[in-house]
Amino acid sequence: MTRNQSVAVGANERLAGWWRHHQFLFAQTPRDLIRKPIASMLTWLVIAIALTLPTLFYVGIKGLTGLTDGWHAGAQMSLFLQTDVSDERALALSEELLARPEIASARYIAPDQGLAEFRQQSGLEALLDNLDSNPLPGVIELTPQRDQLDFGEGLQMTFSALPEVARVQLDLAWLERLGEMLVFAQKLVWLLSALLSLAVLLVVGNTIRMSIEQRRDEILVVKVVGGTDAFVRRPFLHMGAWYGLIGGIFACVMVQICLAVLAPSLASIAQSYGVTLTALSLSIGESLFIIFASIVVSLVGSRLAVARHIRDIEPS
């Protein structure tokens, strides 16, 4: 009998054995975890909290980004006309402007109409009644095409040069600033996610390391009766995957609870600014992504822990 004959179990048989062990562990590992409920629960909660934080930030930024997009789309440019421009000329001009490809709508507000609107909105009727003449100029309000969100200073210059136009007002600078802050916040979320993923990795790695220490005797026996390193590693990798799976699910639940708690007050703040908040929730796809990422990170943590510690445990 040569070495090869005795070692060469068929490849199929080995694959079957590999699969049987996975099947066995799939049933066994949850039982092992439930047998130590407090330790398992603590690990799951730590993972969940670590994942909840960046996810909440992410959802918040997603909501704000939606808002600024809405404002950009609704951004307006106001052309204040010279006082000597007649209503007819102004209407003709607004028609001309509407013909431009960048412009989605143009609305002329005559001085009288403007005064009426102002009277209605400002509540300064008594004061306005004391005026001899209407001080307001005619205004053309322009909204850009949806794909033309950047109304642009070029356009502003062009319109300023028109003889009928006294002044062009484009108040988007603060929006741009908000946009920049959001980009910064997004980077912060990525950084936070990376750091807290590292935390998950370390927590799972450490938990697995302790679990390896606890099962030291078992590992020794397994090695003496011919268990390969892969066989010894497998239960711990399964354990890591379960930590990730349950921790990820807990994180999604936590995020939903936090959003449910925050949503009413956020909605009322938003309403006071005259905007409706949408998309302040975690979609199913995003939830699945979080669970998947949690599993992957936990698996990496377990793999690093087993690589580091299982080789050291050898029968003597």
């Binding site: 009998m1 040569t2 070495r3 005795s6 070692v7 179990v9 048989e13 080995r14 079957a16 054995g17 590999w18 049987r20 062990h21 066995f24 005797d217 078992e218 020794l220 026996v221 397994v222 090695k223 003496v224 009766v225 011919g226 268990g227 390969t228 390193d229 066989f231 050898e314 029968p315 003597s316």
Partner: protein, 220 residues
């Protein structure tokens, strides 16, 4: 089956545990290794199990040379051995069935085959009715028999036993030895390490005596 050819083992620090040991155990043979503690019995076993490698000479077990065996081949080599420990090394949180099933699970056997084999092994050591027990619920002699069942469940060609009766009274020790003789009678090579000279002397088998790392007497 087991062959030591001028084997020496020197540990870091200079302690020479085995000095120029040569012997040969044929297939189907049964033999004892005795000696005081520190005489090199454990080292000899560790070499045979590929836990350690000799500093000089050559160790062959089951037609395989232990010297410089690649690390990844060691598990597969060990599956061909049945190893019985002095303190039986059963896992306390696993049942008798799970303990005995372990080598078969490692070998990737199907659950049905595992069930059959475990029952057969338990039947051989006379403890089939204890299949669902945990080791702590069993007596010392029963635990040792479970340990033997785990060693033989994979139908090894070689059984290596390290002081298998070390913690047992004489009557139980005889029972355990009878078990080994049964396995030997069906062709398994058996090597038992024991310092129980009285027990060894009553058995009709070859005795290898180690003294300070050297083999004293090799009756043919």
């Amino acid at each position: 089956m087991i062959e030591f050819d001028q084997v020496s083992k020197r540990y870091h620090g200079g302690h020479e545990a085995l000095k120029n040991v040569t012997f040969r155990l044929d297939q189907g043979e049964m033999a004892f290794v005795t000696g005081h503690s520190g005489a090199g019995k454990s080292t000899m076993l560790r070499l045979m199990m590929a836990i350690e490698q000799p500093t000089a000479g050559q160790v062959r077990v089951n037609h395989r040379i232990i010297n410089r065996m690649p690390r990844r081949q060691v598990p597969f080599f060990r599956r061909e051995l049945g190893i019985v420990h002095q303190n039986h090394e059963l896992l306390p949180e696993k049942t008798v069935f799970e303990n005995i099933a372990l080598p078969l699970q490692i070998a990737g056997m199907s659950p049905r085959d595992i069930d059959n084999r475990v029952r057969a092994a338990l039947d051989k050591v006379g403890l089939l009715d204890k299949i669902k027990y945990y080791p702590v619920m069993l007596s010392g002699g029963e635990q040792q028999r479970i340990g033997i069942a785990r060693a033989v469940v994979n139908k090894p060609k070689i059984i290596l036993a390290d002081e298998p009766t070390g913690n047992l009274d004489p009557a139980l020790s005889r029972d355990i030895m009878d078990l080994f003789r049964q396995f030997n009678r069906v062709g398994t090579t058996v090597l038992v390490v024991s310092h129980d000279l009285g027990l060894v002397a009553r058995m009709p088998y070859r005795v290898l005596t180690l003294k300070q790392g050297q083999l004293k007497r090799v009756p043919v």
